[in-house]
């Protein structure tokens, strides 16, 4: 057997000094040669641990083997058996905490670059033109309403339409994709990819209703008069603030607002597009997750001179993907670890001008297993800022819970759903993804969706709740 290359085949990417000037994608993706090289690093384990690390149970060695053989068509087919959004997951999944973490190679070397290979296969397919529609089964006559056209909703739609059920997706915004479109920036996930996947679902017969806010335009009970089942995948759209003085000053954004303006509304193309965004020169982003990284890198691309990530723990505890932190560091983001904002100060016109922070140190581990940050007394200091983006998390949107009295809600405003089936307390209603979990990941939402789709199909066939 050939000697195994200890490191992943590197993925070429644009130089930091060029890429911070625009919103185009950063990595180029593998060439066929690079993909084949990397695919050959896979040991093709008989009992693959990587599959268990994948929330949607992709046959990872299977799709990689096809790439190694240069059979990209069968590779993407194998991927799509389990994942309707491979081009998305190849880019945004936290592979280092999932499939790649448990790759056998990772014990001695770097794991197989599963995410990059997934992306390769999906991008290859996109270049072949419109993907063919699979043979659809006879309609079952059952109708399913899916609320939210995010990764979870799209997964349920794909799974159920393939089983012959009539699916309608209701989306509140004017574009489908949910967080993939309003939240994740173009330079990390080109929107064209999502629109292509949605277009594929629509060609498979899925109906898409945009500009429709379930909970307002229609309630769940009204939908249940027309539909046999409802899947709620409305995500975690309610932004958190820290409730510290000065948070309502002008120039202080929630991450949701900042990213929605930049991504969904294309404010980076203002004034060609009508929606504006503040182009700050000294920007502080509060938080340490992927959303914080996205905000910081967006601020750079909007022309900031200095962007800092202000995070209350250390680099080790940061929840962001390694690749995002790495890209941020390369692009010159300043990381203020062990730092907590306590107050924002403004000028006579109510614009934020300064931020008061406190330094922290790490104490004993807390409930999450991470070491708890403890303030260092008297360490307060003041720094100049003209824009602040608060990216400390979000909780589920309350519109559906408020208008669906018999839906059981948890203490964080999340909808309670059974983790084996996705069933909620209300007959005919399933839920999954961030609306159940709070802020989690795209792939976990897709995993929940897959489980719920199975349960919905069973219910539609048997009528048993």
């Amino acid at each position: 057997m050939a000697k195994i290359e200890p490191k992943k085949t590197p993925m070429r990417e644009r130089a930091p000094k060029d890429r911070v000037k625009d919103f185009n994608e950063v990595p180029f993706g593998y060439s066929p040669e690079e993909a084949i090289n990397e695919a050959k690093r896979c040991l093709q384990c008989k009992r693959p641990t990587c599959v268990q690390g994948c929330p949607v149970e992709i046959d990872i060695p299977g799709f990689i083997k096809f790439i190694a053989e240069g059979d990209y068509m069968d590779s993407i087919k194998r991927l799509k058996e389990k994942n309707v959004l491979p081009a998305v997951c190849g880019r945004v999944c936290p592979q280092e905490d999932q499939c790649e973490k448990v790759c056998v190679l990772a014990k001695k070397f770097e794991p197989v670059a599963i995410g990059r290979l997934e992306r390769f296969a999906a991008d290859w397919e996109a270049r072949q033109g419109e993907s063919p529609i699979p043979q659809l089964p006879e309609p079952t006559g059952k109708r399913v309403a899916i609320i939210g056209a995010g990764p979870g909703g799209l997964t349920v739609a794909g799974d159920l339409s393939r089983l012959g059920h009539a699916v309608t997706i209701f989306e509140a915004l004017h574009k489908p994709g949910g967080v993939l479109v309003y939240g994740i920036p173009e330079f990390r996930l080109p929107k064209e990819i999502i629109y292509r996947e949605v277009d594929y679902l629509v060609r498979c017969g899925v109906e898409l209703k945009l500009d429709f806010v379930v909970g307002k335009t229609s309630t769940i009970d009204q939908l249940l008069e027309e539909f046999n089942a409802v899947y709620i995948g409305t995500g975690a759209g309610l932004p958190w603030f820290m409730n510290i003085p000065g948070e309502n000053l002008n120039g202080v954004y929630s991450a949701n607002e900042y990213l929605t303006r930049a991504n969904l509304m294309k404010a980076y193309l203002f004034p060609e597009y009508d929606t504006p965004i503040v182009r700050g020169k000294r920007v502080a982003v509060i938080g340490g997750g992927n959303v914080a990284m996205d905000c910081a890198r967006t601020a750079l691309r909007l022309g900031a001179d200095e962007v800092s990530i202000v995070y209350r723990r250390s680099r080790k505890e940061m929840p962001a993907r390694e690749e995002e932190i790495h890209h941020g560091e390369q692009e010159g983001i300043i990381f203020e670890y062990l730092t907590l904002p306590v107050k924002y100060l403004g000028d006579e016109n109510n614009w934020v001008t300064e931020m008061e922070c406190l330094r922290m140190e790490l104490g004993e581990p807390d409930a999450s297993g991470r070491r708890r940050p403890v303030p260092i007394e008297g360490s307060n200091y003041i720094t100049k800022v003209d824009t602040v983006v608060c990216a400390i998390g979000q909780s589920p949107n309350p519109l559906i819970p408020q208008t669906t009295p018999d839906l059981k809600i948890g203490k964080w405003g999340n909808i309670e759903a059974d983790d084996k089936t996705g069933k909620t307390s209300k007959k005919g209603c399933w839920a999954g993804g961030d609306v159940v979990r709070g802020g989690a990941t795209v792939i976990l939402a897709m995993g929940d969706a897959r489980i719920a789709a199975r349960s919905i199909d069973e219910y539609l066939r048997t009528g048993l709740w």
């Binding site: 229609s218 929630s254 303006r261 109510n350």
Partner: protein, 274 residues
């Protein structure tokens, strides 16, 4: 895309826009609003619902920036890119009260469904509409249908009471028993009304119009400080107790993008008219 049924100028700078919709009427209630986006490059803006039926919804808006300039240029048969609603919490409708309803600018139109709901619930409705001059007042005939009294206020005295809203309020509230005041209009009008009724301790409900993007509770740009607490105008409002609103904060938040709004409008005018 949503087809425009009608767009007409009611008085200078104020327009009625009727757009096709077969979904919004089902749950629409007085005090709610819709979000409209004129075209694919447009901004999402909230506009009060003025009327609705099984085929369409109506809004009244003032032509002021790029978005409303685009809407004001629409003709029957044109389309808007986005129409979504109803959004926001409906007006809380009391019973058997005497309510003074104040409207200015686009708020004159926005009063219509609210006074209808008030009246239908057995309240006595006193409507007062204000403008700089007589030629800017409108819809007196429609408002009269649901008003026990209709007052006109003009700053130049060309019609009805001469003076500002606050002068009228002081005068009227002194002479009449009013349980509650309800206001629709620009932030300054809602502010001025609230400050006038505050010393008299008359409950005052204001329909606010903070800047919004998604208008479903997702972005938080519409935050308003009410009784010391941060609320979202789009899902907790848009109506609040005017005596509890932090007006200085709200007035300044309305101006966040003033510079960009001016820039955007001159860009639009150059692109459109050369």
């Amino acid at each position: 895309m949503y087809k425009v049924v009608k767009r007409e100028r009611i008085v200078p700078n104020i327009h009625l826009l009727v757009i096709e919709s077969d979904a919004i009427h089902t749950n629409a209630q007085a005090g709610e609003f819709v979000v409209v986006r004129a075209d694919e490059k447009g901004e999402r803006i909230p506009l009060n619902l003025v009327d609705w039926d099984e085929q369409s919804v109506s809004v009244v808006f003032m032509e002021i920036g790029t978005s409303t300039r685009k809407l004001a240029a629409l003709k029957a048969g044109d389309e808007v890119a986005t129409l979504v609603g109803p959004l926001g919490k409906p007006t809380e409708v009391p019973k058997d009260k005497s309510i003074l309803c104040v409207g200015g600018c686009y708020g004159i139109g926005a009063l219509l469904p609210v006074i209808r709901a008030f009246r239908q619930n057995g309240n006595r409705v006193v409507t007062a509409i204000e403008a700089r001059s007589e030629y800017l007042l409108y819809w007196q005939d429609k408002l009269k249908l649901y008003s026990d009294e209709l007052h006109e206020i003009t700053r130049d005295g060309t019609k009805g009471f001469k003076g500002h809203v606050n002068d009228f309020l002081v005068d009227h509230l002194k002479k009449n028993k009013i349980d509650m005041v309800y206001v629709q209009g620009c932030t300054y009008l809602t502010y001025l009304t609230s400050e006038t009724t505050r010393p008299l301790a008359i409950r005052t409900i204001v329909g606010l119009n903070p800047i919004m993007v998604d208008a479903t509770g997702m972005c938080g740009v519409c935050r308003v400080i009410v009784n010391g607490e941060t609320k979202f105008g789009c899902v907790d409002g848009p109506e609040f107790d005017g005596h509890q609103v932090d007006w200085a904060n709200l007035l300044s938040r309305r101006k966040i993008y003033l510079k960009e709004e001016v820039h955007s409008l001159s860009f639009y005018e150059c692109e459109t008219y050369g």
